[in-house]
């Protein structure tokens, strides 16, 4: 019973962390890294710094903010 409640609390905590990461977009590099490792394992992986320089501005190209 207690462990079920604990698991549930932990799931809520993870979800809240996810919401914040998604809202702020702090996970962009992690997502890119996962993608390259999974789909292009033989291609070079950009470092966090390189990724940030190259890909950063693309985040603001479309309609990203509302009224």
């Amino acid at each position: 019973m207690r462990s079920a409640a604990f698991r549930r609390l932990r799931a809520i905590g993870t979800a809240l962390g996810d919401v914040i990461r998604g809202a702020a977009g702090t996970d962009a590099y992690a997502r890119y890294k996962e993608h390259v490792l999974r789909h292009h394992p033989h291609e070079p992986l950009l470092s966090r710094e390189e990724f940030f320089r190259r890909e950063f501005s693309a985040r603001w190209e479309g309609i990203r903010r509302c009224c």
């Binding site: 993870t14 979800a15 809240l16 996810d18 919401v19 914040i20 990461r21 998604g22 809202a23 702020a24 977009g25 702090t26 996970d27 962009a28 590099y29 997502r31 890119y32 993608h35 390259v36 789909h39 966090r48 710094e49 990724f51 940030f52 320089r53 890909e55 950063f56 501005s57 693309a58 985040r59 603001w60 190209e61 479309g62 309609i63 990203r64 903010r65 509302c66 009224c67």
Partner: protein, 684 residues
């Protein structure tokens, strides 16, 4: 089990609403409203949204989404559901749901609250979810592309032009809100100005000092912003510094216009991106803080459920309850702008169609809750204080003394010493006629937060709230100007190809200047308007936003009509009919009402007659020509919005007619079924 839960929730909602209805005449506790909202949201999400997703859309968890099929690690990325939820909520929630309910509280708290609850559950959330679903089934196409595919060139063109127009009006009205909050307030002005170098510092930190450490940089930035709030109070007490930040509205409008232009042409990493991060953290933090504070403080609402102004004579904006409450509150109930985010960016992240309900419907429910909290913050003020802050002085008799007399005559007693005491408590020179909703919301938020965290800090809380709204608004202003620039460059590229290159500096500067000039004009006229400008611009914004919602609903209704679930097309058809009714009535009144406070033409003629007769005081006569021209321009815009809305609706009805009479309709270009290879539960 589900039925038991449903019945319990329905009973809970009914009980809470009955509590609100039966206690008329006595103060209502804000908890009743939150309880009713929680029950209605849960009913909507667990039953209506679940039914739509399963039976109408036939969302299929085994179908590969574009994020999976086109995964490129950049814009198409299959993403965990709560991450997409956070991303989508941050994108749709802006300052709109804070301002609309604050203004609409002039009718009393009940009409706005009911519209926010019912409008979101049956309208706004449904629109967001179905647009998101439709775009997910079409490789993340934008609303404009879907309108062209599903309806034809008229629909597609209307969606694009409508989007550009709404952007201009939105930025102008938001700029006006910020200017009104900063006018002759050195504390607010210096704090808001400080947010610009802070954002740049954070940008440099992320770019050069510790590249890519976004969370770290944002935390430093948020701490600096809090410091800037306290620092603004210090500036306010320095006789040498104070005059620099004690500015007229027109000066501040000039600053905002210049800032908007710079933000649009500077590299993203320097200003826009860091500001966006800061604003997101502030947004999440403040929403949670406010919710907790309301739960702890359990404030009583002092605003009556209904005020006398439902007859259309309200001082904040003129016009009857119907249709104007439905125009004033767009964001929070149904916002057409959301359909632009729900198509385009978010669908490229959706990992499985099973997540569409949480992301589309759920995010909008949360935004609706933000609107409810804004309504509570407005309704807990003394009505006299609320109207004194939000009404232009010209509408209350021209001076503070006349204003309190007018308000007392309406049954909302308030005194000049009371207003002055409140102003000095929150660290402002005056709170009379601080139109735009931000100062009133800040007073409401400050009283909630200081009630929980100690009243010695009320001035800090007030300016924290102002800073929070300003950061929000300036982020929308930056991002909106940039989007407008891209759209304009796209259009100009058809005229002369080099103009369409987004990295060619002459074109960047030209198109940015055009976009900034467009909203800057409306902002400037709003600032010089003795009635404060909000009473003209906010309804215009509401009409344009509801027009865009009408376009989005028409597109998805056409999609439903063409599919297997044509008999369920009413789920978007009915909200569309309601919006068409509301928007058309409101636009008609804004055009043709004989009341100069409502009708644009009547307002222009009235002012022209007074100018010709020489009865205007000299300072009003000096700007009258501009105001007359502006009212006629506003009328033309309103007529244009109405025309675009009906062009799209007629296009949709044409599809419906062809479908009903068995004629062929343009195919609905859904991408083909492909089975997902993602393992259920992985990455979640």
């Amino acid at each position: 089990m589900r039925k038991v839960l449903g019945l319990a929730l329905a009973a809970g909602a009914a009980f809470a609403l009955a509590g609100i209805a039966l206690n008329r005449g006595e103060p209502i506790n804000a908890l009743w409203i939150l309880a009713a909202a929680a029950c209605i949201y849960t009913l909507g999400y667990r039953f209506y949204a679940a039914w739509i997703a399963a039976s109408v859309l036939a969302a299929d968890g085994t179908r590969a989404t574009p994020a999976e099929r086109l995964d490129n690690g950049r814009d198409f990325v299959p993403t965990a559901r709560w991450v997409v939820f956070g991303h989508h909520f941050a994108a749709i929630a802006g300052p709109g749901p804070l301002i609309g309910p604050t203004l609409a509280a002039q009718f009393g708290y009940l009409p706005g609250t009911l519209w926010i609850l019912i409008g979101s559950v049956l309208g706004g959330c449904v629109q967001d979810m179905i647009v998101l679903f439709a775009s997910t089934r079409r490789d993340g196409r934008t609303l404009g592309q879907m309108a062209r595919d599903e309806l034809g060139p008229v629909g597609g063109f209307s969606a694009i032009v409508g989007t550009l127009a709404i952007m201009v009006i939105l930025i102008a009205v938001l700029g006006l809100v910020v200017v009104n909050a900063m006018k002759h307030s050195p504390w607010a002005t210096s704090t808001v100005f400080a947010t610009i170098p802070i954002a740049m510092l954070v940008g440099l930190y992320m770019r050069s000092l510790r590249p890519g450490r976004v969370a770290e940089a944002s935390l430093i930035g948020v701490s600096l912003l809090l410091l800037a709030v306290v620092g603004g109070g210090w500036v306010d007490h320095q006789p040498a510094l104070r005059p620099f930040f004690d500015d007229e509205g027109t000066t501040l409008a000039g600053f905002v216009i210049g800032y908007g232009f710079l933000a649009a042409i500077l590299p993203v990493w320097l200003l826009l991106a860091p500001r966006d991060y800061l604003s997101t953290f502030l947004k999440l933090g403040t929403v949670v803080l406010l919710a907790v504070a309301i739960l702890v403080m359990r404030p009583e609402l002092k605003m009556p459920a209904l005020t006398r102004f439902i007859d259309g004579t309200g001082p904040i904006f003129a016009g009857k309850l119907f249709p104007f409450v439905f125009i004033t509150i767009a964001c929070g109930a149904i916002s057409g702008f959301h359909s632009l985010v729900s198509s385009g960016t978010t669908p490229k992240l959706i990992r499985t169609e099973a997540d569409v309900r949480l992301v589309g419907y759920g995010s909008m429910l949360l935004e609706s809750l933000v609107a409810i909290m804004a309504m509570i913050a407005a309704a807990l003020l003394d009505p006299g204080v609320y109207f004194a802050i939000n009404s232009p002085l010209a509408a209350l008799g021209g001076s503070p003394d006349a204003a309190v007399a007018t308000l007392a005559g309406w049954g909302f007693p308030v005194t000049v010493p009371q207003m002055n005491a409140l102003a000095s408590q929150v660290g402002e020179v005056t709170l009379f006629a601080r139109t735009g909703g931000a100062p009133s919301l800040a007073v409401g938020m400050a009283s909630i937060l200081s009630g929980v965290f100690g009243s010695t800090l009320i001035a800090i809380w007030y300016h924290f709230a102002i800073m929070f709204e300003a950061v929000f608004i300036l982020t929308t202003l930056d991002a909106g100007t940039r989007v407008g620039r891209f759209m304009l460059q796209d259009a100009l590229g058809h005229v002369w190809r080099p103009l369409g290159r987004t990295s060619w500096y002459p074109s960047v500067i030209l198109s940015s200047a055009l976009v900034v000039a467009a909203w800057g004009y409306f902002l400037y006229v709003g600032v010089i308007d003795p009635y404060g400008g909000i009473n003209i611009l906010w309804p215009l914004f509401g009409i344009s936003n509801q027009m865009l919602a009408g376009i989005a609903l028409a597109v998805v209704t056409a999609i439903l009509l063409k599919g297997k679930s044509a008999r369920h097309a009413w789920i978007t058809g009915l909200p569309l009919a309601w919006l068409a009714l509301v928007t058309t009535t409101a636009a008609w009144e804004k055009l043709f009402s004989a009341n100069p406070k409502i009708g644009f033409f009547a307002g222009a003629s009235d002012l022209a007659a007074k100018l010709a007769a020489g009865v205007l005081p000299p300072e009003k006569a000096a700007v009258a020509g501009k105001l007359i021209f502006n009212q006629r321009l506003d009328a033309a815009l309103t007529a244009f919005f109405l025309f675009v809305l009906w062009a799209v609706i007629v296009d949709m009805l044409r599809i419906a007619w062809r479908r009903a009479s068995g004629s062929p309709v343009p195919a609905s270009p859904e991408s083909a079924y492909e089975r997902t290879r993602l393992v259920e539960g992985a990455n979640a």
